[in-house]
Each structure stands twice: as structure tokens, then as C-alpha cells.
Amino acid sequence: MGHIIEVPERGRGGVGTCKMIGVRLRGFSVRYSNFFLEPMDLSIDPGERVAVVGANGAGKSTTLKAIAGRLRDYEGGVELGGEDVRSRLPEIRAQIGFLPEKLLGFGWMTVGEHLSFLSAFYPTWDHEYAEELLERLELPSASKVGTLSKGMAVKLSLVGAEAHRPPVLILDEPTSAIDPVMRRELLGIIDECAPGGGDRLVIFSSHILEDVEFIAERVVLMRVGRILEDVATAELRERDPGAPLSQILLQALERS
């Protein structure tokens, strides 16, 4: 890792080039008045789909924000494609698709205007692909952003994060507070957009263990500001063959 490799892009919506970018955290640590994230090392390669799992307050969102270039005050280093994130801001954000916990946008814009606004910032924005995603997710482009339900807002966030085909896709609690049908639909689309073993990297946080089972190939278990375990889902399954992964994860969290 440490280099950016350009390879022919796979997936939907046309052919282009996609940079393969890995993520590396070296001694990454955060200290707030009421929260301390212990120094952690983490390395994620292109093509990996990693779930960061833990209860509320474990430090999942903080870690994801740092990787997405939305956190300034921390110790240690966060690298994308071998480059320090903080020293390459804000340009490096163009390499990242970030789906935040809460939809960020102007409530008075329509869905179409919102996406059109976002497209101005990303040279690789694919308008056709964005349209296709909108149709697929049944998002009416004339709806006002401020009137969208939680589920629709998440869908719109996903389109915004995905339409410029970033090499790194970061999803912060993408399925929390949406119904199971919509959850499965959303995960299916994420699975299609960034298939495991491809050239893109997906990091997502969740406390819904079934989501992890569906999409992740590797799990980082966190609890109260530290990493408990960083393990492949295949290895987890071997611990209790036959048991659902969510159950094994729950046991691991309870043991800690």
C-alpha cells in the first residue's frame, strides 16, 4: 500500500478509471473532555469491505469522520493512498464518498437540485449513474430535501456519496432507523455498487449485526474507545459453525 494505482473501472454506468486507495491509521487517537479513543492501528486494503461494530459511544463515528477528512483534532496519522489526510484537505475529499448519520443538505432544495449542486464539486460525477440510482431507489427528484423521510434521506445520501464513484466509500450507520425492507434494499445496492474483492474500499459502521453478516468480509469490534478485535468474518464463523454471524458477534461483544 502507499501508492495510488489506476485500473480500469468495473461496475455500472460506463467505463473510466478508478484509483485504488487503501486506508491506514497509525496510532490514531482522540481525546475529548468526556471521551478518549485509545491509539489504534488499522490497515484496510482496496477491495475490502469492513464493518466497524460497537455500541453507541464506542468511537465508530469518530474514526469514520477522521478517515473521511472531517476531523481535525486527533493524534497519530490517517492516510489515504499513502497520503496524510489532514495535509491533503480538502482535495482528498474528492476521493471519498461519505454517507453521514444524518443527511446534510439544504432543506429548500429539491432532490435534483441537491445532486446537481454536489456534482459541481466532483470532476468524476456521473450524471447518468446518479439518475439511474435515483430511479432504482425510487427517489422523486422533485421532492424537497427537507420533506424527505429518514429512509429517503439515507437513500439520497447514498446517491450523493456514490455518484462520483469514489475509491473509498464510508457509510456511517447507513441502516439505522430505517425499516427492514428498505434496509435490505439499501444493503443490496451497496453490495452491487462496491462488490467485495473489487477495486473499491467500503468501510461502514453499524450496531445492527445482521447488516454486518450481509455485507462485510472483515469486522472491527470496538468498545468504549478501543478496538477489541479485528477479524475476518470467515474466521468468526469458524468459531461456532452453524451459528449466525450476528450471534457470534454478539457473544464476542458480550465477552468483552
Binding site: R72, L104, F117, A120, F121
Partner: protein, 234 residues
């Protein structure tokens, strides 16, 4: 930072300025109507009520103002957009909008004057002073933002000088018209309609300079600034 992205932010900020001004404008209009209804033709009352009306109009609830000024900022700070460029775009939109608003108001006032009548001098003074104040406030904000953006010292001094001059002339003109000048030496200057024109022109020049500076800054890619990691206050 592409021109396209800069234009997109200016467009959004312009829209937000419009929404903000609509809220402020409604309050301002209500106060103006109150001033006109209560103060018109009652010598001695009109000045007090005018000031009271303007004060009331400026009492925009702080939380509303804050929401309008910071709303959407979180989205903007997640984009590949530096804090300096964001500030420059907001400044450009704000200045542009203020200038256009003031111009519209001046045109409206010009149309309305003949109907108001030549003897309604207080009403006329207040009406004329609105756009001038508007531009002056805009120029003041621009100067402050120029400082925040670390414009070069000479540029900031120029903005500052023009702003202070415009504010002094405008306030002086309004004060003289409403209360009469306590200093006879400057009464002649303040009572002149030319003063108002000079104040307007000065404020407009200040705004135009800031506007031009913002565009130049954006075109140069803000290379004169240190890289700023983020505008978020986590």
C-alpha cells in the same frame, strides 16, 4: 477548486441571502409602515418613532439569523472545498446580493417619491437612507470578512477607510435630517444631498472592491493562504 464549484456555492449562498433578507425584509416593512402611519405629520414624534421602528426591525431573532447564516454549512464542509474558498464565495454572494437589493430599493424609492410629496422630508430621508445603510452594512461585513480571510493589509485598510467614510456620511446625513446638526460647522456638508450621493458611491466602491477581490482570490486558487484543514468545529 473549480470555477464551477465556486459558482455553485455563490448560487446557494445567494439563495440563502434572499431567504434571510425576506425574513428581515418583512420585519423591516412592518416597522416602516408603523413608522409612516404613526409618525407622519406629527412633528417631534416622527424622529423618535423612526428610530424605534428601525430598532424593532433590526431585532431579528438571533437563532433565526444564526440558522440562516450557518444552515447547510455542515454539508459544505464535507465537500472538497477549503474554508477560505467557502468564505470568499459567501462574501461574494453576500456583497452581490446586498448591492442588488439596495439598487432595487433605490429604484423603488425613486418611483415612490413623487407620490409621497416634496414636504414629506422625513419620510424621504428614511426611504433614501435604507439602501445606503444596506450597502454600508454590507461593506462593513465585507471588511470584517476581508480581515478574517487575511486579505493583504493595504486592501483591508482601503476597505476599512471606505467603510468608515460611508458609514460616517450616511449616519451624519440621517442624523442631521432627523434631529438637526449640533455642530454648525459640518451642518452644510451633512445637509447636502451630495453627501448622500458620495456616501452611496463610497459604499458601492467598497463593495465592488471586495467583490472583485473575492473573484480574483478564487481564480488564483487561494494560494496565498495556508492550507486550512477544515471549517468544522467538532
Amino acid at each position: 477548486m473549480t470555477k464551477q464549484a465556486f459558482r455553485a456555492v455563490v448560487g446557494v449562498e445567494f439563495q440563502r441571502s434572499r431567504q434571510f433578507l425576506m425574513g428581515v425584509g418583512i420585519m423591516f416593512s412592518v416597522a416602516t409602515v408603523a413608522v409612516l402611519v404613526l409618525g407622519f405629520g406629527r412633528a417631534g414624534w416622527s424622529a423618535v418613532l423612526s428610530i424605534l421602528g428601525i430598532s424593532l426591525a433590526l431585532q431579528v431573532p438571533l437563532e433565526v439569523a444564526k440558522d440562516k447564516m450557518t444552515g447547510g454549512l455542515e454539508l459544505l464542509t464535507t465537500l472538497p472545498l477549503s474554508a477560505s474558498t467557502l468564505a470568499a464565495a459567501r462574501l461574494t454572494a453576500g456583497t452581490l446580493f446586498s448591492a442588488l437589493s439596495a439598487l432595487s430599493f433605490a429604484v423603488a424609492a425613486g418611483v415612490a417619491w413623487p407620490g409621497i410629496g416634496a414636504d414629506a422630508s422625513t419620510v424621504r430621508t428614511i426611504a433614501v437612507s435604507f439602501p445606503v445603510f444596506w450597502i454600508t452594512i454590507s461593506a462593513c461585513c465585507s471588511s470584517a470578512l476581508g480581515l478574517a480571510l487575511r486579505f493583504k493589509a493595504k486592501t483591508v485598510m482601503t476597505y476599512g477607510f471606505l467603510t468608515v467614510l460611508a458609514a460616517f456620511l450616511t449616519v451624519g446625513y440621517l442624523y442631521e435630517r432627523l434631529f438637526g446638526s449640533p455642530l454648525r460647522a459640518i451642518q452644510a456638508i451633512m445637509a447636502s444631498d451630495h453627501t448622500l450621493l458620495i456616501a452611496t458611491a463610497t459604499a458601492l466602491v467598497a463593495s465592488a472592491l471586495v467583490l472583485a477581490g473575492s473573484f480574483l482570490l478564487a481564480r488564483k486558487g487561494l494560494e496565498i493562504y495556508e492550507p486550512e484543514p477544515d471549517a468544522m468545529d467538532w
